[in-house]
């Protein structure tokens, strides 16, 4: 099973500090939940917000009618639509940052304006963009700008050239044609800005152990921009590591090969073998997926888009209890010496069950709202995120001490020398 946190968590357990786990990016433009079977809320590219307008009905009864299939979104009059991002953030409109767009969608849906059967979806509408592009094209070509069907045809061609692959992907998943009816989207978890703590040379707190790219925390603060994972991979890999790792290894140039017949290797092997044996001999009743899904629900509900102390304390308890149940009652079929997907997954989920608790612990500790981390206790009267720079201008770097509840917090203060800390307004 593919997992991009496993390596990071393994070295965390060996002494590498884990930084800022609570900074989680929620992506506003994902395929909404349609049922329990879904393995993934596919991410539609954020580029769609360049041209799509986000809205829900203004009146609750219209939202209900749309949910029940009695009203089509395209039949709802312009004045009955609430383009809530444009309304709340006139300066940035549909292009507000991801955390702001996500929370605004949740706010509308929590109020009962959601537009799909689960009530957790908003519209992303390209109708205006199609007309705008179509008119431009007709104008350039000297054609009739008032011929609606011509304008729509031309506009759709331009939208297709820009977003054709995404529209196709949406249609395959949802079975609706986004050229004709607005897309439905909802926020979903995308990325954690946190990761292994590293110094400016990209070395972790374990001497000689380097972490680059998405595995570390270094380039993002509490939020990130599109494509920054790629940027970080390139920056770390091309420009930083070639200098720093060589510098570190220079002292060992005459060390020669290191034997694998050392106690450290033996202990590592024994540790893994013991874990595998424990899973294989466990006579549990529940599959690994059962625990994985349950963990996901706890984290999403209590350590998701908006968090509060009560929920986080509950999440910590629930994850701990789930972890205990997992070791007692998980069932792993097959054998350990053959290709065994459920076993591989059990080894991964074991790590997730610890990481999840650290997520919640870090989120509880950081009693301010900041970037991808929104604490309900810390907001402005208009419901915007409220930072607390006096108390929280630091990186949280956690040291592993066995149980996640025992993890020790190290604070790395953030000193801004050339810029002044400000709060940006998107109004």
């Amino acid at each position: 099973m593919g997992s991009n946190v496993t390596a990071a968590w393994k070295i965390h357990r060996q002494g590498a500090y884990f930084a800022n786990p609570c900074f989680t990016q929620i992506h506003p433009t994902c395929i909404p939940v349609s049922g329990d079977h879904q393995s993934k809320l596919t991410l539609m590219s954020e580029s769609l917000r360049n041209d799509g307008r986000i809205w829900v009905p203004k009146k609750k009864e219209d939202a209900v009618a749309i949910r029940e299939g009695k009203l089509k979104p395209i039949d709802l009059a312009e004045e009955d639509r609430d383009y809530y991002l444009e309304r709340r953030y006139p300066a940035f409109g549909n292009l507000v940052p991801r955390d702001v767009a996500s929370r605004a969608a949740k706010e509308r849906c929590d109020e009962g304006y959601g537009v799909n059967t689960t009530g957790e979806a908003v519209f992303l509408d390209f109708a205006d963009a199609i007309i705008r592009y179509g008119k431009e094209k007709a104008h350039i070509k000297g054609l009739d700008e008032n011929d609606l069907s011509l304008v729509q045809k031309l506009g759709k061609e331009i939208i297709k050239a820009k977003y054709g692959n995404l529209f196709q992907m949406y249609e395959k998943i949802v079975d609706q044609n986004p050229y004709e009816t607005p897309m439905m989207i909802y926020p979903a978890v995308h990325y954690t800005m946190g990761g292994i703590w590293v110094d400016y040379n990209l070395m972790t707190t374990i001497p000689g152990c380097f972490a680059i790219g998405e595995a570390n925390f270094s380039d993002h603060g509490a939020n990130r921009l599109g494509a920054s994972a790629l940027m970080q991979g390139l920056a770390d890999g091309y420009f930083v590591l070639p200098y720093t790792i060589g510098d570190y290894l220079a002292d060992d140039i005459r060390t020669g090969p290191i034997s694998t017949n050392l106690p450290e290797f033996e202990q590592a092997e024994q540790r893994v073998q013991a874990q595998i044996d424990a899973f294989m001999s466990n006579k549990g009743t529940k599959t690994v997926d059962y625990f994985h899904r349950k963990l996901g629900k706890i984290i999403w509900n209590k350590c998701g888009m908006s968090r509060n102390a009560t929920g986080l304390n509950e999440a910590i308890q629930e994850v701990k209890a789930l972890r205990e149940e997992f070791y007692k009652d998980v069932f792993v079929p097959g054998t350990s010496d053959s290709f065994n997907e459920p076993l591989a997954k059990a080894l991964r989920v074991a790590d997730f069950l610890e990481l999840g608790e650290l997520f919640a612990k870090d989120a509880l500790e950081r009693a301010e709202s900041c970037g991808g981390h929104f604490r309900e206790e810390s907001q402005t009267p208009e419901g915007e995120a409220l930072r607390d720079d006096a108390n929280f201008t630091f990186v949280s770097a956690w040291e592993y001490k066995g149980e996640p509840s025992e993890a020790k917090l190290h604070k790395e203060p953030l000193n801004y020398e050339n810029i002044e800390l400000k709060t940006r307004s998107y109004k």
Binding site: G2, G35, H37, S39, M169, K172, D175, F339, E341
Partner: protein, 248 residues
């Protein structure tokens, strides 16, 4: 939906495999094919049956892992999708679905539906890279002008996800569509010129060593390719190969 699944079960690379029949109820048309397989496996584990091993990772059509031969076609009946993007609404209530691994000599079965596609990795290692300057004085990529048609064609070729559907659909188990996509994405760009000659020769050599068959221009690969890789790439690779041979 209720479905009957006939699935290839094979313990390991050397074991003899056979088709097994399972029935599954409560399939929602909105499920992806892999989600249906998840439900089946959950059901099998409850019954104490070893779950069906299958490959998957991204579940959004970008990693190429989800190799399944469904009703005689790689990635099933829909066009321009991978198995993870295939949805159950493409099937009818009561259907019987045959699910097999991708079959080709260079793709040995590891277990059930999982095959070893490391042959593709080795072909990539033979030439799927470019030289870049990492001295810190790297040139701005935008400083090199590239003709739009070439940029588009290189981009289209680079869409290949290495899934192996082209091989599985080919009666000769030829990997030409895959290799030609990988060669083309560099051949069309100035960054690819440094290794151009060696690249095509080495990748083709590796392809032959891995035991992939010859191309007889049947075109099944193009039809089944989830990323719409065009046969034009094969023609381009043949040209590249010829000129490399002549100049080399």
């Amino acid at each position: 939906m209720k479905l009957t699944l006939k699935i290839w079960r094979q313990e390991n690379a050397t074991a003899k495999g056979s088709m097994h029949t399972y029935s599954i109820d409560d399939v929602s048309p909105d499920m992806s094919f892999l989600e249906m397989m998840d439900v089946l496996n959950e059901q099998l584990m409850q019954q104490g049956v070893d779950p069906v091993a299958f490959d998957h990772d991204c579940r959004e059509g970008i990693c190429g892992a989800c190799s399944m031969f469904i009703n005689g076609e790689p990635h099933g009946p829909d066009r321009l999708v991978t198995t993870c993007q295939l949805h159950m609404r493409k099937f009818k209530d009561g259907d019987t679905i045959h699910i097999e691994p991708f079959r080709a000599k260079p793709f040995p079965v590891i277990k059930d539906l999982v095959v070893d596609r490391s042959a593709f990795d080795r072909i990539q290692h033979a030439g799927g890279f470019v030289s870049v300057n990492t001295s810190g004085n790297t040139q701005d990529a935008n400083a090199i002008p590239i003709e739009k048609t070439n940029a588009d064609k290189a981009f289209d070729a680079a869409a290949c996800i290495g899934c192996g559907a082209c091989v599985a659909s080919c009666k000769n188990a030829s990997a030409m569509l895959f290799v030609s996509a990988k060669v083309s994405q560099y051949a069309l760009l100035p960054q690819g010129q440094v290794e151009a000659t060696d690249r095509v020769l080495n990748m083709v050599k590796q392809m032959d060593e891995e035991g992939f068959g010859n191309c007889t221009n049947t075109g099944a690969c193009e039809v089944e390719c989830p990323k719409g890789i065009s046969l034009e790439n094969i023609a381009r690779m043949n040209r590249e190969y010829l000129s490399a041979k002549v100049s080399g």
